[in-house]
Point group: C2
Chain length 176, copies 2
DNA sequence: CGTGAATATCTTGACATCAAGATACAGGAG
DNA sequence: CTCCTGTATCTTGATGTCAAGATATTCACG
């Protein structure tokens, strides 16, 4: 008489019938994290699509944007922040350069390095889309009561830390 | 003086400095769901890799396995359950057929349809890997206190339902 | 200086995935 | 029976991603 069953409830119940000796409770959490991530991403993508862009494009723009003026990071900083490989970063920067939203210049201090910067057009695009994006995210979270949101944020934060997620380091050395 | 900051804490703080007028709290949840999903997936993948397989391969095998004997579903049932497109399903079945873990036969009742079944080898592979997979999932959740796990499961279930996640329908019509 | 290890980026090749459309069959209305 | 609509699967072409390695540059140490 509780609530309706979501997909994971159904999977757990199927396992109970087929292999009752198995303890599949870990699935109840891990499976849901995966499904919720996919479902949320689909809703987020929809808003970006209305603006003719992909989520990953906004991710790059927003990462540069929140770095503050002059909106410049290296490819290495980008891939560490975004949890992608260096090859993917190269590809993303090239595509965004073609759209005129970012530009590359070699760093004269360290000539191995590259400085990726938001162009005025990229900055404008980021700011233009962001409000609608945030409104969309707020709408998605309307599904939860405010105290549920707070609990969920706190628990997911604990989980993230336990999984080794950490604030990206500043350029300086960590201690003293 | 609270806990250490995870990556999302850092992003939120960056936004506060660069665009203080923006309310980015939705990110605190949606961003973490995405990052946690990626981090968890990496740990899950590692165990499958030890057995020479991909996560998506196990997903297909497990979906057939928990359907119960004769471990048979149609491609359509598979893609609805796994949240993938029909083209991806075709591709997955073909690859698994090459490995000898599933087989295809046309359905004689409805000749548009195909029956995908676990082979004895596929069944064995699924059962062989599953225990280690579940142990791995349990280890991942060790990071949380038991009551935190329960809260998180409950909240994620509410979230999943709010996002429209539902138990896949049985073959029969929904009512009476 | 010169040499080797470390670092930063890019290249290459493979691959899973998707969107859109093609193909084949089913089932009902006339 | 015929046609038309809906369903089930597969095909095609594009794309984003990764792993592994290639290239260029820096830096420490002798």
């Amino acid at each position: 008489m509780s609530e309706r069953a979501d997909a994971v409830d159904y999977f757990v119940q199927q396992w109970a019938q087929v292999r009752p000796e198995l303890d599949v409770t870990p699935m109840a959490l891990i499976g849901r994290v995966s499904r919720v991530a996919v479902l949320v991403q689909a809703k987020v993508d929809a808003v970006f699509a209305e603006h003719g862009m992909q989520s990953w494009e906004f991710d790059v723009l927003a990462t540069l944007r929140r770095a503050g003026e002059p909106y410049t990071l290296t490819p290495g900083q980008l891939d560490r922040t975004m949890m992608i490989t260096s090859g993917t970063t190269t590809h993303r920067i090239t595509r965004l350069e073609e759209r005129g939203w970012v530009q590359r210049e070699r760093d004269d201090k360290d000539r191995r390095s590259v400085r990726v910067s938001l162009t005025p057009s990229g900055l404008a695009q980021c700011d233009r889309v962001q409000e609608e994006h945030l409104a969309n995210e707020r709408a998605i979270l309307e599904a939860l009561e405010p105290d549920q949101r707070d609990s969920l944020i706190s628990l997911m934060r604990t989980f993230a830390l336990a999984l080794g997620d950490r604030a990206p380091m500043e350029e300086q050395s960590p201690d003293a």
